[in-house]
């Protein structure tokens, strides 16, 4: 699936959750959004032979490397979104699933990030 398809699926879960998903649509939505970000990032690295190796590293490493290729502000948004989504996608005892508004916010952030990740990385 392309990042955009993943985002669309996440949007669909948000606006129109199927009855079978009524207990886990938030986590599902967060999971899909995060996957869209990760896929987008991986595609970003793969667009240039020199950075292709980054795509195989853990996400955390990719996020550390990102500000060296993209502007720091965008990298910061990526970090915040990824950590927020990771937290929301996993079960945490005593912690409630994210709200619709929070999910919407991440969705918006990732949509923006994908647009920034569209061109190939330029060397630092």
């Amino acid at each position: 699936m392309t990042p955009q398809q993943l985002l669309d699926a996440a949007r669909d879960l948000m606006t129109n959750p199927r009855p079978s998903m009524r207990r886990c649509w938030q986590r599902g939505c967060a999971c899909l959004t995060r996957l869209a970000l990760e896929t987008g990032l991986r595609r970003y690295w793969q667009r240039h032979p020199r950075t292709a190796s980054v795509a195989r590293s853990p996400m955390w490493h990719q996020l550390i490397v990102l500000p060296r290729f993209l502007d720091p502000e965008t990298a910061r948004i990526a970090r915040a979104a990824w950590f927020g989504l990771s937290r929301a996608a996993h079960h945490h005892t005593y912690e409630l699933p994210p709200t619709l508004a929070e999910l919407g916010g991440w969705h918006r952030d990732v949509t923006y990030l994908l647009s920034r990740l569209d061109p190939a990385p330029t060397s630092p």
């Binding site: 950075t51 190796s53 590293s57 915040a80 916010g105 630092p124």
Partner: protein
């Protein structure tokens, strides 16, 4: 993150005044005078136009920022959760410090200690039952608790210290405190002059306080915003004008209120002046000059009875001796005439005439017989004898003439010595208790006596008659005098009342004129107050809205305009809040966490006003009841504030530090932990340099990565870590040296690149980058290599052992930040 704050309320009022055209000059004068103070205002009410400040905007404009203060350390012994001495060292400069610690670790004790030391109170306990205040002593510490707060003062080499000490049995409030500026004797903490700023820009905020900010009465929030914005000055001016209006209104009414009493007093007073006063009062507008005259003139001139009384009172008669002397002279002259009566003197005059003629005849016909008797010859001898006789006769005649003249003169003198009986004696003054009958009769007798042609009688009886006259007049005069005084006493109170009323009426007329202007001034001020307060509020409101928008993250509550509304008891802060785009009824729809965020949004601009001397901000546990996602927003907001302020945040969980780490925010994290017996330890939990190096290590170990990418990223991160460490070193050193923060930041900004930055940090001059080698070696043996690798590696770093580079960099960074 500072609100622009160009004009004081006074300036705003003056500039509004300049723009106003329809306000009468008198009203303008009153407002200007009120701005100048009580004294000027009182003078203006009295009609003196105030001296208007020449160029108001230039004169009082820029209030000037006070000298900034930062917290350098908080040392606590035996206070609350802290037993043996523990110190929290802070970087006294703008920046974010997060102090984390579990509940009960003692982190809040630091916050409370600092707040107590500087303010002498603590919001968390104040207003609570004594039980809260009794537990302040730590059980595990010695008997002498103390708090010592070191303050860094911008632009001063060494700061100041505020210290509190308690003796074994002291209550919390009994502690002794002192303030010491470096190199100066100890003084009272009050000398900091922080009493008012602490109220206005309170740099301490706890969780409980955040809740209270919005849940309190609406008027409290209104008032606190009002004070911060300096708008209470507006209230002050309005109060002054209103007080004056009340006073003038009272003045205006007073004559009307006292008039009936005055009328009644006049009506029942018998004095003639009362009638005149009534007449003067009867017109539509009272004749004040005439009334004032009546109140001050002693007695009315045209009073029927007063004139004779005053005449009698003033009557002055000659002394009896004078009369006796004259009578004596008269009698002597009369005696003399008597004595000469049978002598030739009586005929001497005719005889002298005859002899004179005979002598004249003898001169023309000498030596002839007397033509009268034809006897003897009138010769020279005869002539000689006759001349002598003639002289004698002439002397006698002169003597007699003299005596007669004396009689006439004495009589005349007696008559003129005592005046004719005054008409007053003829008046009937019995109503005033003056009986003139005896005196009148005595005086008549005296007049009769003098009128007789018999000077002998006059001479004989004048002294006695005169004594009688005086004796008779004496009681009359005394009675007249008393009558006058009685009248005076009866009129005096009425005169006083009249005078008071005239003064009141004059004041009332002046007041009426001023009152018109004053009312216009008050109306005008009320009109411009609205725009002034919103002008003043605008920057703060804009900032609060901005902060809210960062804080709220994905909240569906949107904060629009903030307005100060209402007056008196209905005063409040209008928060224009919309939920999902629908304007809503503000606070009611917001959750507790959102309310906290909103309070924080309103509080932060207040605590970061340029007028505040506090460049530090202590926030205790703002994260509670915040959604995880909002914590990210909070971290960003705090980072923003920390660009210009020293922000110290105490928090009990890891959410805020985690957000800081993930967002790559420049912040120091300190961890407070508490061991047995209340031993509290503060350890460095992370700073950006350590985080950069941790990231660098992660990437250095990722062998899967393309070597060029790996080398580039690691070297970049190492360089970031080194630069951060350099910045910290420079900031700490400059602040200690008393260099203004802005100057330091400018110098850091100018030093672009790693080597200039290192030169600035190690040699104090960014220009000396090529002299770095030795000082780098002195700093750490590996330092020259680390710096060179970090610089070159950014472009490939082929052949560099990245893991070793990061490890060496850690040592170098540690050396760099060590003070």
């Amino acid at each position: 993150m500072t609100a622009p704050h160009p004009e004081t309320v006074d300036d705003l009022v003056l500039s509004h005044l300049d723009a106003t055209t329809d306000l009468p000059e008198a009203a303008v004068d009153l407002i200007v005078a009120a701005l100048l103070g009580e004294e000027e205002f009182a003078a203006a009410l009295g009609g003196t136009p105030p001296r208007r400040p020449a160029t108001p905007a230039a004169g009082t404009g820029e209030p000037g920022e006070p000298i900034g203060t930062y917290l350098r350390s908080i040392e606590v012994t035996g206070f609350r959760g802290i037993g043996p001495t523990a110190a929290l060292h802070l970087a006294p400069r703008p920046g974010l410090t997060i102090v984390t610690g579990r509940n009960g670790s003692g982190k809040s004790s630091f916050a409370e200690a600092a707040e107590f030391a500087l303010t002498g109170d603590n919001r968390r306990w104040s207003g609570r039952s004594p039980i809260w205040r009794e537990g302040w002593r730590n059980l595990h510490a010695g008997d002498n608790p103390s708090i010592r707060v070191h303050i860094g003062v911008e632009g001063h080499r060494d700061g100041a210290t505020v210290e509190w000490n308690w003796k074994p049995d002291d209550e919390l409030a009994d502690g002794t405190s002192w303030l010491q500026l470096a190199g100066r004797p100890r003084q009272s903490v009050a000398d900091l002059g922080w009493k008012v700023p602490l109220e206005l820009y309170r740099p301490f905020l706890s969780y409980a306080e955040l809740g209270g900010l919005l849940s309190g009465r609406p008027s409290e929030m209104h008032d606190s915003l009002y004070r911060i914005l300096g708008l209470d000055r507006l209230v002050e001016i309005e109060t002054m004008l209103k007080a004056a209006r009340r006073e003038l209104d009272g003045l205006r009414r007073r004559p009307g209120e006292t008039l009936p009493a005055l009328r009644a007093a006049l009506a029942e007073h018998p004095d003639e002046r009362a009638r005149h006063a009534e007449a003067a009062l009867s017109g539509r507008v009272a004749d004040l000059d005439r009334l004032a005259g009546l109140a001050t003139v002693d007695e009315p001139e045209d009073d029927r009875d007063v004139v004779p009384l005053r005449q009698l009172d003033l009557l002055e008669l000659p002394a009896p001796d004078d009369v006796a002397d004259l009578a004596e002279r008269l009698r002597t002259a009369l005696d003399r005439i008597e004595a000469l009566a049978d002598t030739p003197a009586a005929h001497s005059r005719s005889l002298a005439g005859l002899l004179r003629d005979a002598l004249a005849h003898q001169r023309t016909h000498p030596d002839q017989p007397c033509p009268v008797c034809g006897g003897r010859t009138l010769d020279a001898a005869w002539a000689e004898r006759t001349r002598q006789e003639l002289d004698r006769l002439n002397r006698l005649a002169a003597d007699l003439d003299e005596a007669h003249r004396t009689v006439r003169e004495s009589q005349r003198a007696l008559r003129s010595l005592v005046p004719a009986p005054p008409p007053a004696l003829a008046a009937d003054l019995t109503a005033d208790g003056v009986d003139t009958a005896d005196a009148r009769r005595a005086w008549q007798r005296w007049a009769d006596l003098l009128a007789t042609d018999d000077p002998a009688t006059t001479a004989g009886t004048a002294p006695a008659a005169y004594r009688e006259l005086r004796a008779a007049l004496e009681p009359v005069q005394a009675a007249a005098h008393q009558a006058l005084q009685r009248r005076q006493q009866a009129w005096q109170p009425v005169a006083d009342q009249l005078r008071a009323w005239v003064e009141a009426e004059r004041a009332a007329r002046r007041a009426t004129a001023t009152l018109t202007a004053l009312k216009k001034a008050i109306d005008w001020l009320r009109k411009v107050s609205d725009s002034i307060r919103n002008e003043k509020l605008a920057p703060v409101a804009a900032e609060a809205t901005e902060i809210w928008n960062m804080l709220r993250q994905e909240s569906n509550v949107e904060l629009g305009s903030i307005r100060l509304a209402g007056t008196g008891t209905s005063r409040r802060v209008d928060l224009n809040v919309s939920v999902d785009g629908v304007p809503g009824a503000a606070l009611g729809v917001m959750s507790q966490g959102e309310l906290h965020s909103l309070a924080l949004a309103l509080f932060l601009p207040r605590a970061t006003m340029p007028e505040s001397p506090f460049r530090f901000l202590v926030i205790d546990d703002p994260v509670q009841s915040m959604d995880p996602v909002k914590v990210y927003g909070l971290a960003e907001v705090l980072a923003r504030v920390a660009r210009h302020r020293q922000v110290i945040v105490f928090t009990h969980d890891d959410r805020l530090p985690a957000a800081v780490r993930r967002l790559d925010i420049d912040a120091r994290i300190l961890t407070v932990s508490r061991m047995a017996h209340s031993r509290v330890k503060v350890s460095e939990g992370g700073n950006p340099a350590l985080r950069y190096l941790a990231d660098a290590k992660t990437i250095a170990c990722d062998t899967n990565l393309d070597p060029t990418v790996r080398g580039t990223v690691v070297c970049n991160l190492v360089r970031d870590a080194l630069e951060y460490a350099c910045h910290e070193r420079v900031r700490a050193r400059d602040f200690r040296a008393g260099r203004p923060v802005a100057e330091t930041e400018a110098a850091l900004d100018a030093a672009r690149g790693l080597r200039p930055t290192l030169a600035l940090a190690l040699l104090g001059d960014a220009q000396r980058a090529n002299e770095l080698r030795d000082s780098l070696r002195r700093l750490h043996p590996a330092a020259p290599q680390v710096v060179s690798d970090a610089n070159n590696g950014a472009h490939g770093a082929a052949g560099v052992d990245l893991v070793r580079l990061v490890n060496d960099a850690e040592s170098v960074v540690e050396r760099l930040v060590r003070p």
